[in-house]
Symmetry: C2
Subunit: 193 residues, 2 copies
């Protein structure tokens, strides 16, 4: 199998738990996900999950950190950030069948639980809005926040609520529309409309 790590390493229990947690938290909410599910996915007893990570909240924190360090799609935005971001979100959310849903998945699914939101708020600010802001001009953080809003809303409507308009058909016009909106929000040169 092509694991994300060394193919030879048998993936220690703690590591399997972390991977299982990332998978679950990317698809379900914090509240909705039970430690027993994660333990079962990892082929481990519940008690060991708790023993290895301290608490559910700490496990969630570790999972979020893992995803964020795995995917840093803000590193290479190139000359056309809007198009890059749009392309990334669109392509990423297409891989719903598999396992990895990217940072957006684990983010949008646990927005509502207060304990999870405490972690997520910090992550969104530190690992998304702030670094995106540094790549832009004046009013940077506000524009970055609006861009984040658009991307997050898009992800939610497509992956959580599964609006047919956003799930079916060739993503061409959809991606272009998203990119145009992002361009405006980010203050790039306006699209020709």
């Amino acid at each position: 199998m092509t694991k994300t790590r060394d193919s030879s390493a048998p993936a220690s229990g703690r590591e399997r738990i972390l991977e299982a947690a990332v998978g679950r938290f990317s698809r379900q909410s914090y509240d909705q996900t039970g430690l027993r599910e994660i333990a079962a996915d990892a082929g481990v007893d519940v008690a060991y999950v708790h023993r290895a990570f301290g608490s559910k909240e700490q496990l969630f924190h570790a999972a979020v950190k893992r995803v964020m360090q795995t995917e840093k799609f803000l590193d290479d935005l190139g000359t056309d950030p809007a198009r890059m971001l749009a392309a990334h979100v669109v392509s990423k959310s297409k891989a719903d069948a598999g396992c990895e849903a990217g940072p957006m998945g684990i983010l949008i699914h646990s927005l509502t639980s207060p304990k999870a939101a405490a972690v997520l708020r910090a992550v969104v600010i530190e690992d998304f809005v702030a670094p995106l802001g540094t790549q832009l001009d004046a009013n940077a953080t506000q524009r970055a926040a609006l861009a984040a809003a658009l991307l997050m809303g898009f992800s939610i409507l497509r992956d959580v609520l599964e609006l047919p308009v956003l799930t079916e058909g060739p993503g061409g016009s959809l991606e272009r529309g998203l990119a145009d909106a992002l361009a405006v929000v980010l203050g790039q040169t306006k699209p020709e409309i």
Copy 2:
């Protein structure tokens, strides 16, 4: 007190439960909200909540329907839909201290719970995307969906994650930025940028 109904009517128990449910579900998620909280808010025993509405899921459905029929901000979008929508979302989410958070509140807080999402998906399509689409031109539903995405993401970042950029300061430039982006998404005449 200025209740939403007749000021003289003492608000029957069932009605108080419904109002309490709207309040709770607008601030917390479906999973996170217990029937005992709602019962306490309404000054009623838990058993009666269940007896009056059948189940938690049916109560949630009733609450969502109530909010949607109360607020139909899609009726009068006028000649500048983008600005109207932006103004509505911005002004509505400012009234967080009180009680009513509008449709967005009850929508974004329970996205993650499957039972709640079943109700919400139908509502978003029927009561938001579809009617908004009828007021637009070609590619209508797709544009409406993108607009919904922007508004929803904005609401989440502001009210759930409480990004400082979106909560503080005079809403002027913020609202203008949101309106510009909406204008592009909706296919109105482009802003002068």
